[in-house]
């Protein structure tokens, strides 16, 4: 499977060195980061493609340290965390990675305002969406509220970059974001996009987001919330056969010292059925999972 997946990654790489979500589309930061991360850890032949990915990332970084979704949009995006994580993990372009991390630290997602905060303190269950509105993680876009997935990416990036941020206060920001994530955990463990309870009704977690989020919290593996969420992930995996979810799950289980082999076997079977819809993101993550990549991303 990994040979076919690598061939698809090579075929999808654009002339500009970046990767698109689907073959033939424009390169974007998310897919370029993940494909670069996956390939840079393999042999020399694969690293040449990764080198071109690194150059694409370096060329696309905005002056303020952020990365846009695509080269021509320029607007800072959530993908900054993935680019920072990748460059930090493979130890390339340290200056770019450092500027990306500093940009992340400057971001302050929107909060619902004073009234919402007061209402939460007085009557937390009266809010339509039950979460602590004051806890800040990271948002999908500037000026929006915190959500789980961009926060998990930012945590992975910052925990990797700590050593490059000498003299910068990182711990408090990380700690608040972790509290935000735990605040949004679903009742029986796991996470969805970011709301665990709306209008009094419990929402259910997603396997891919749960595995990613657990990965970002792997330095707290003994916490009860992590253990419940790992158990929730195992339950969810019984019903999930996608490349994205199985890849994140394999990386997560490996990071927690659990046996990822059964999930990797399912990942190989899933590949033969769908080729992950030729989605670069899933293919790159699968290559990472198949090549013992947990150490490249986990804190």
């Amino acid at each position: 499977m990994i040979g076919e997946a690598l061939a698809m990654l090579h075929a999808a790489q654009n002339r500009d060195g970046g990767w698109p979500t689907y073959h033939g589309r424009a390169s974007n930061t998310e897919c370029t980061s993940l494909a670069t991360l996956a390939l840079a850890r393999l042999d020399a032949g694969e690293r040449a493609a990764a080198d071109r990915g690194v150059r694409w990332l370096a060329a696309c970084q905005n002056a303020d340290g952020s990365w846009p979704l695509q080269r021509d949009t320029r607007t800072p995006s959530w993908t900054t965390a993935l680019a920072t994580l990748t460059l930090g993990s493979i130890d390339r372009e340290p200056s770019s990675a450092g500027r990306g991390a500093r940009w992340l630290l400057r971001q302050q997602p929107r909060t619902p305002g004073v009234l919402a905060s007061v209402l939460y303190r007085v009557a937390p269950h009266a809010r339509v969406v039950e979460l602590d509105p004051e806890l800040r993680g990271w948002s999908w876009t500037s000026g929006a509220t915190s959500f789980v997935e961009p926060t998990a990416y930012a945590l992975l990036a910052l925990k990797r970059s700590r050593s490059r941020l000498a003299g910068v206060e990182v711990g408090a920001r990380i700690e608040e974001a972790e509290r935000m994530i735990y605040d949004r955990m679903c009742r029986d463990g796991g996470w969805n996009y970011g709301n665990s309870r709306v209008l009094g009704a419990e929402l259910w977690p997603y396997a891919d987001v749960t595995a990613l989020t657990l990965l970002s919290l792997a330095d707290h593996r003994d916490r009860g919330e992590n253990e419940r969420s790992l158990a929730a992930l195992q339950r969810m995996l019984a019903d999930v056969d996608s490349g994205l979810a199985l890849s994140w799950a394999a990386l997560c289980l490996a990071a927690y010292g659990q046996d990822a082999a059964p999930v990797l076997a399912r990942l190989r079977r899933a590949w033969t059925r769908t080729h992950f819809l030729a989605d670069t993101r899933s293919i790159a993550l699968a290559v990472l999972a198949m090549s013992d990549g947990a150490r490249a991303v986990a804190p």
């Binding site: 996009y193 396997a207 994205l244």
Partner: protein, 329 residues
């Protein structure tokens, strides 16, 4: 600015806001106006998700004399979450029927495209819902609009304060965009039908999950601005065979309605579908506003063909805060 938010329902001011909308100044460009003298909407009975559906859909399409010969048709179903009860999403059997119907009508290509609002794991959603099997068997192309290339398009009405919207190339290049929503109540918007379904055209990679930027800009406001800005010919097929009542769009209850609704005017289609749910469309903020310039809301401006509405009307439950929707003015 006059809000179209859910809080209007809660304050009881909604009826005044919606019904007095004609007296407010226009907030749209001249290019956004699309109101024929009358709009036609077809209500067609369809009791089950079975192999008769393709014929029914083709009949519905032919009622409008749609010329799709050698055209690219993009079907935009409503896929939100995996739902084992099969109530949240447009039923895959209806998508299969629409693929077949538009091919039989001569379309050069029928593409299925969506940008699910909650899930980034499109592969899981397709497999678990059964849509993957439909697409594979029909050899139909699927485009995940959340990851599609997107282009900025100037907004043609001005409710959100956004100057431009990023729209996916697959949608912009379509000759006909077919909105295929589920007939559902919605806990923020009142109803989710062909117009609300267009949220799924906006890429989540840009707008976040669950299209968070648009929630902050106002859901009703965003619905109007998206629909006024899409520069593509439109058609709608509402999946009302089994709908959802109560706490929609994902946690409501199953409601069998046995109907498909067809039409070219999204406002008229949604107004008719709302009436089928015994909901007054004039009390749904985004419909009331869209009825001023994007299509027809008033029943004397809608030529209803197919089955009479009274024969198929159902009493859809709504959350208590939406009770005003059930009071017909």
């Amino acid at each position: 600015m006059p809000g179209l938010h859910r809080r209007a329902f809660l304050s009881g001011a909604l009826a005044t806001t919606a019904l007095a909308s004609c007296s407010r100044p226009a907030r749209w460009d001249r290019t956004a106006v699309h109101q024929p003298s009358r709009s036609r909407v077809a209500i067609v009975p369809a009791t089950e998700y079975d192999d008769r559906l393709a014929e029914i859909v083709l009949r519905g399409v032919r009622m409008f004399g749609l010329d799709v010969a050698r055209k690219t048709v993009v079907l935009k179903p409503n896929f939100v979450e995996f739902d084992p009860a099969g109530v949240v999403n447009t039923h895959p059997a209806l998508v299969a029927a629409a693929i077949e119907a538009f091919r039989r009508a001569g379309a050069r290509e029928v593409i299925v495209a969506d940008g699910p609002g909650h899930h980034r794991d499109t592969e899981h959603l397709l497999i678990a819902s059964g849509l993957y099997t439909v697409l594979r068997d029909a050899r139909a192309r699927y485009v995940d609009l959340n990851g599609d290339d997107a282009r900025a398009v100037r907004v043609r009405s001005h409710y959100t304060g956004l100057d431009e919207l990023y729209l996916p190339e697959t949608v912009l290049k379509a000759d006909l965009l077919v909105s295929m929503p589920k007939l559902k109540t919605h806990h923020w918007a009142g109803v989710t039908l062909s117009m609300k379904n267009m949220f799924g055209c906006l890429p989540g990679s840009i707008y976040g999950f669950p299209k968070n930027v648009l929630h902050w800009a106002g859901i009703a406001e965003s619905i109007v601005d998206i629909n006024s800005t899409l520069p593509v010919r439109r058609f709608a097929i509402v999946d009302g065979i089994v709908g959802m009542e109560g706490n929609g769009p994902i946690q409501g209850d199953r409601k069998h309605c046995g109907v498909l609704v067809f039409g070219e005017d999204p406002v008229a289609v949604d107004a008719t579908a709302a009436r089928l749910m015994t909901i007054d469309p004039r009390r749904v903020p985004h419909l009331a506003e869209a009825g001023r310039f994007l299509g027809h809301l008033a029943d004397d401006r809608i030529e209803q063909i197919g089955e009479p509405i009274d024969r198929l009307r159902q009493d859809f439950k709504v959350l208590p805060s939406f009770a005003p929707l059930k009071r017909f003015a």
